[in-house]
């Protein structure tokens, strides 16, 4: 199948998309050299700075969440590839200026973890105060898989840690809040159709016409739950039950539930899926404290979605509700 995408030279995908982002939201973000996105108006001095890193091709993740109450800086890698340590280092250095330390939020993917660690070691050698939070919310359908991927669970982490930093929390406290959010978040992804790699035009995985695969990674890394396509209600039930069991949710608890479209799955479907999830929770007497439906991290025109649940407490809810003004996540 020939790739049908509105692009120019595939070599310039990342700088062009980031330039676009900065042009659409000039009051929120600006583009630094070397594909680093920063807040248009830097955070007030004396507050903790949040920095993240990750591959491109997943818009609006991750740079779409740079802004007041969320990230201070995002280092964008090439398509589906982690940014190298030198650029992460550059962002950390820039973010650290005038701040009370840097909280580096890293999604658990091999390349991102490596670059983050190498940059963090180098930053420490330069005397920068820095701590790291690793997000690993992504369940595999295979219970034997222990090392979990970072999926859309980065969003509540950016949100609550960003709010805490904005309110003047210390680096230790920001990290602890981020970790508490992370520990209480679980995500499952399901894919029904592959995307093409925008540089190569190659399909990134194979899936039968009438199949779906539960537990797939952000880039189509295989899960093991391949099955015939099911209805929204059936799919939501399978996924939600796995998530609730894994997080150990019991009746009476409060959850944030998020449904994230992978790129080609329509808002119609996402809303229908969310309805299914809400009905199931109601039947189980689990409280839907907060919710979000939309595209927060995509993989090109991949069809499928991620369902995320997070156990909330009053402080996490307060931070989730705090103002945020990033290009693709706004709370007023």
């Amino acid at each position: 199948m020939r790739m049908k995408k509105f692009i120019n030279d595939p070599k310039h995908l990342v700088p062009e998309l980031l330039e676009g982002l900065a042009l659409v939201f000039p009051s929120k973000v600006r583009l630094l050299r070397s594909n680093i996105v920063a807040r248009a108006v830097p955070k007030a001095p004396g507050k903790v700075r949040l920095v993240t890193l990750g591959g491109s091709g997943h818009e609006p993740g991750l740079s779409g969440f740079v802004g007041e109450g969320m990230l201070d800086m995002s280092v964008a890698g090439e398509i589906f590839a982690a940014p190298g340590a030198p650029r992460c280092m550059e962002a950390i250095r820039a973010a650290a200026k005038g701040g009370e330390g840097v909280l580096l939020v890293v999604l658990n993917h091999a390349g991102d973890v490596l670059s983050g660690n190498i940059a963090m070691e180098a930053a420490k050698r330069e005397g920068i105060t820095i701590q790291r939070v690793l997000t690993q919310d992504g369940m595999s359908s295979d219970p034997a898989v222990k090392d979990r991927r970072g999926l859309v669970g980065f969003l509540p982490v950016y949100k609550v840690a960003g709010a805490a930093a904005e309110q003047g929390a210390s680096l230790d406290d920001c990290r602890k809040i981020a970790e508490r959010m992370e520990r209480n978040t679980r995500t499952l992804a399901v894919a029904v159709r592959t995307a093409t790699h925008p540089s190569t035009g190659q399909a990134i995985f194979e899936l039968g016409e009438d199949e779906m695969e539960i537990g797939m990674g952000q880039h189509g890394e295989a899960g093991t739950g391949r099955m015939k396509l099911k209805t929204a209600d059936e799919t939501a039930e399978i996924m939600l039950n796995m998530l609730l069991a894994d997080l150990g949710v019991t009746a009476g608890e409060e959850l944030l539930v998020l449904v994230n479209g992978a790129g080609a799955t329509t808002l119609m479907e996402l809303l229908i899926l969310f309805r299914s999830a809400a009905r199931i929770l109601e039947a189980k007497k689990i409280k839907l404290a907060r919710s979000a439906v939309g595209e927060f991290i995509t993989t090109q025109e991949q069809a499928g979605f991620q369902m995320m649940i997070a156990r909330m407490d009053p402080e996490l809810i307060r931070l989730w509700d705090a103002p945020a003004d990033s290009p693709y996540f706004v709370v007023r």
């Binding site: 993917h109 390349g111 190569t200």
Partner: protein, 216 residues
């Protein structure tokens, strides 16, 4: 006969290594598409470019300075784990106490051991896990053994190239346990690891660069 490696030799080694990568980059991407997203060949092309540039004109004559710059330059390739680890390897070589202008076989061994130690600090992957370590560990081991038995640097890289090659070939029958590939389990058996293959190509190039130098 070459008994030491200076900047001139390093430039030849990197140039030949880059040639090997260019020749096989499509195959490397193909291997990567079994378990990853099929961009390993592209990553390695960028790594190769930067290695060549690192030993080119206007780069430091001091070897540890040159290697550290080479390492950070390779780490600057957005290529996920492979460029980060290869960059770490070169930067790590610079941590060994090597002479400014040239390394004899003992120093080469020390530098490669130091590079490997730096990589081992960043990954828990061991030989047998179907990663670049399956080629890198035996290659560095071969250089150390050659240095210990008084071999020349050319002989050292000859055995290292062949050890890297066998190591990479052996990944064919392994099941991936690291990186994205680990989520595929048994599906990864049957084709060699792209990262290990790349390391084998680098060492093949290092040897070819030195051997060619000897004849010339």
């Amino acid at each position: 006969m070459i008994d030491a490696i200076g900047k001139h030799e390093l430039a030849k080694m990197f140039a030949r290594a880059a040639e090997e990568i260019r020749r096989e980059h499509s195959y490397l991407s193909e291997l990567d598409s079994v378990a990853g997203d099929g961009d390993h060949g592209t990553t390695m092309l960028r790594v190769a470019e930067r290695l060549e540039a690192a030993a080119g004109a206007n780069t430091p004559e001091d070897l540890s300075h040159l290697l550290r710059d080479a390492g950070w330059s390779v780490m600057g390739v957005d290529g996920g784990a492979s460029s980060a680890l290869l960059g770490t390897f070169f930067a790590g070589m610079a941590d060994a106490a090597i002479d400014e202008g040239s390394m004899d076989c003992t120093q080469v061994a020390k530098a490669f051991e130091s590079g490997l130690a730096a990589v081992a600090k960043q990954t828990k992957a061991q030989p047998g896990d179907k990663t670049m370590m399956d080629a890198l560990v035996p290659a560095v081991g071969a250089i150390s053994a050659a240095a210990a038995s008084g071999k020349t640097v050319v002989e050292a890289f000859e055995t290292a190239a062949s050890a890297a090659r066998s190591g990479a070939d052996s990944t064919k029958d392994m099941v991936a346990r690291y990186g994205r590939a680990k989520f595929l389990g048994e599906k990864t058996r049957g084709s060699p690891d792209a990262g290990a293959r790349s390391v084998a190509l680098l060492f093949k190039g290092y040897y070819a660069g030195l051997a060619h130098e000897r004849k010339g």
